[in-house]
């Protein structure tokens, strides 16, 4: 398989810009560190040549950015979408969150992103630069350059990648992949197998670290409310920061519930959490339950599909059956 490179993407973008097909490019740019890649809107090829990056840290799922970006101009915006991003893209279209006509979507292949915390576990602190590739070259303040196999430091969501297939695009670069059989529910199953006390201890340990920075909410492509319910004075639950130990639980349960059936399992919530709370395990629990209770459903697989919580059958299981399934 021919690898899609940074240069190829710039070339594609410049061609589309030159044709006038698009007038902006939603792309990645280096942040403070080379492993800290952030989204950026490019309007010309020069700045792209200078700042555009693509590689093992191009995590950012651009779908959500399209909501605001498509409203800014009458022209189309070019967006690069990895397979998992396309699910969010479709889900947002299902929810009428942006105008498809204003987007030119280029599907790009993905062989997994790298979790910098896993690199840090190996090399320690003081990373100066990281170079993408099957062998990742890491230069640190103390140890010089080290090579690490990419497969050893893949992000959790990429280890358990659910699909290498794009479900939406105008144009595809590289080869199309397939929907994969992932083991993404293994960890949920592991938790389910614990006793209630163990689960409670686990989650208390995780959730008590929450600082209510709202990063999970801000990055989530399903959390696109004009105003979050937790910021709505009429909701009765408005609060800005956790005033007590319960509220973060409430926030995370409700947030997961609100995105249940809409979450595509892109994993951005856990990636951005500064406290490393495995938030995706909440969402995956809902996905796993939905699949088990109501039949397999992948949010974003098809535009216009009816989410499980806005649907029902007369034969659905009872809530009591949902919690007592282990005993049966």
């Amino acid at each position: 398989m021919q690898k899609v490179t940074r240069e190829m993407l710039i070339e594609k973008a410049s061609a589309l810009l030159a044709e006038g097909k698009v007038d902006r490019v939603l792309g990645w740019k280096n942040g403070e560190f080379s492993y800290d890649v952030t989204p950026f809107v490019f309007t010309d090829v020069e700045s792209m040549k200078k700042d555009f990056v693509f590689g093992d840290f191009a995590f950012a799922n651009f779908s959500k950015y399209l909501i605001k970006e498509t409203k800014k101009s009458e022209n189309k915006v070019l967006v690069f979408l990895k397979p998992c991003d396309t699910y969010s893209f479709n889900q947002l279209l299902t929810e009428h969150r942006f105008n498809r006509e204003k987007v030119y979507a280029v599907g790009i292949p993905c062989d997994g992103m790298v979790d910098v915390s896993k690199i840090k576990e190996i090399v320690g602190d003081g990373i100066i630069s990281v170079e993408s590739g099957d062998l990742i070259k890491v230069e640190t303040l103390y140890d010089g350059v080290k090579e690490i196999a990419k497969k050893d430091v893949l992000a959790e969501r990429c280890v358990n990648c659910k699909s290498k297939k794009h479900v939406a695009y105008d144009e595809l670069m590289g080869e199309e992949g397939e929907i994969l059989d992932s083991n993404r529910f293994d960890e949920v199953a592991k938790l389910e197998a614990m006793t209630a006390d163990e689960r409670y201890a686990f989650w208390q340990n995780e959730l008590s670290r929450c600082i209510r920075c709202n990063a999970c909410r801000d990055v989530c492509p399903a959390c696109t409310c004009e105003k979050c319910v937790f910021g709505n004075p009429n909701s009765g639950v408005e609060n800005k920061a956790a005033s007590n130990s319960f509220e973060e639980k409430m926030f995370h349960i409700i947030r997961a519930f609100h995105v249940a059936g809409r979450c595509t399992d892109c994993g951005e919530c856990s990636r951005v959490c500064p406290q490393n709370i495995p938030l995706h395990l909440l969402n995956r629990k809902f996905i796993k339950d939905i699949n088990a209770f109501y039949g397999d459903y992948q949010a974003g697989e098809e535009v216009g599909s009816r989410a499980p919580l806005t649907n029902y059958t007369k034969e659905d299981l009872e809530p009591s059956e949902a919690v007592n399934k282990e005993e049966n």
């Binding site: 409203k71 929810e95 009428h96 969150r97 696109t224 409310c225 004009e226 105003k227 979050c228 319910v229 709505n232 009429n234 909701s235 009765g236 639950v237 609100h258 995105v259 009816r306 989410a307 919580l309 806005t310 649907n311 007369k314």
Partner: protein
Amino acid sequence: MQRIGVFVCWCGSNIAGTVDVAKVAEALKSEPGVVLSTNYQYMCSQAGQEMIKEAVKEHKLTGLVICSCSPRMHEATFRKTAAAAGINPYMVEIANIREQCSWIHKDMEEGTEKAIVLGRTAIAKVNLNAPLTPGESPVTKRALVIGGGIAGIQTALDIADAGFYVDIVEKKPTIGGKMAQLDKTFPTLDCAACILTPKMVDVAQHERIRIFSYSEVESVKGFVGNFDVTIRKKARYVKEDVCTGCGLCTEKCPQKKVPNEFNLGMDNRRAIYIPFAQAVPKVATIDADYCTMLKTGKCGVCSKVCTAKAIDYTQKDEFIEEKYGAIVAATGFNPISMDKFDEFAYSQSKDVITSLEFERLMNAAGPTAGKLLRPSDGVHPHKIVFVQCVGSRCASCAEKGKEYCSKICCMYTAKHAMLTRDKYPDTDVTVFYIDVRTPGKQFDEFYRRAVEEYGVHYIKGMVGKVSPEGNKLIVQGSDLIANKQLKIEADLVVLAAAIEPDKSARPLATMLTASMDTNDFFTEAHPKLRPVESPTAGIFLSGACQGPKDIPETVSQAGAAAAKVIGLLAKDKLTGNPCVAHSDEMMCNGCSSCEKVCPYGAITYSDKEFRGPNRTTLIRRVASVNEAICQGCGCCTVACPSGAMDLKGFASKQIMAEVDAICK
């Protein structure tokens, strides 16, 4: 800040027996917003209500909490009291301290404590109550009846006679429906045409009724009192207002080999046709599937012979838009296909027929001019076997039969058997039955007459196999009483096929947002108390589209539906329930979750302009609730992730306040 008055009722000793009412009133005095808290023997009495009115004046109350019996009992009473005292009726909350407190607890201390909590909860809610005004919407004084069978005809006539305009949409070229195909009707044996056709003429001549025949409903928008309906008038290639119905064209048309659906394909008609002599409207229709002129451009015989110049080969489908206040579904039924029941050899022998086909065979206007002759060879049958419950009460396989009882078969089979024996005493008639079901006036007497006076053989048992052998049909069935397996050599076998709703009902229900059961029968708003209304306001049900029915039942239900429509159209304005959903446009994402769960289709979306930062305008898709359609269930409020959708009278904040008050 509210000024709340709390009134604790004794209900004689009903409440005061286990709740210390004085203590409750005293305790609630200190709740936020409360300016008055008192108790009285019977709050609902004239004196009690006067006391409330006085208190409102004296203390300038803005909200009322009545601690009394269930709101299901007296909420309406106290709302009226509030209105009479000059405050909004929706500023009243009831704390149910009788059914849910004094009556279930024996201990005074326990009861009193709980009554205080319940009072506190109601106060917490009233503090957040806002005055509500029910919405009003005008009523278009015209009704649409979909289906022109006996159900639609009766409903239309009753509505029109009450002084309202009615349109009937009928997909066939004529009104009349299934009843027009019947020969005689049970239990009186009067001829169907004799009692139906005068009604059809009444419809045609009624100044307030319009008939759209050969037409279908294309789309329905709007809500109770205000439906916008598009009707597709299919091209019949004959100018309806010009055609005189002389029938010359139908005699001269050279295309003679068109199966005649009115006689269920047992004879042929021409490509231009009038379904039957008493058709209404009595105009010809060209069947585009068979007309040589329309298919090849060569022929034109009908046009040549038509002296009225009514033929128009260039006619196109026409779309009519009309407003209606009420819609009646009267789409009727059909017998099910016998394809999956070939153990009865329906596909193998022409002499195995359905009961509806038998009606046509017996009918003077039918393919045999009323003589009972075998379809295969035109010979008079001397031995007829009727099989009941073919496809009815069939639970084994959904794609095959129907689980329900089709209700009409027992009676029409008795009728067929009796008529056969009456006209042809030399013909032996056997009926295989599982149960004979005859609940209805004069029904069982009728069935017994068939047995006792006409000598019809009723055999308890079912036919397992029909085998055409030679020119006979070998009917193998069980006689459960004799404990025997019978093999009868029959000349004709008649199958009482199950009936099912017309196929057009399902897409129509979707357009009407009316609900259906798994068998595609329309669901009624309440199976006992609101049997002719759909749960969707403004949609009414008439006839077999709601469930299997015979003619007397259909006609009475048709009249009932008409009465409901008249009741609606008689109003100038509709007052809604003010406890409806409301969407805050500033917070709405336009995600459509609420729209998907709304059982009434009350939520619509539109693109609206909003002010963005830096004097820009943003266009956003936002939801709005049609208050006339919304019934206030609140399902949308939970589907809405942002909390933009809320329910008036049961707002999230109010319910949370109640939760807080209980858990305090």
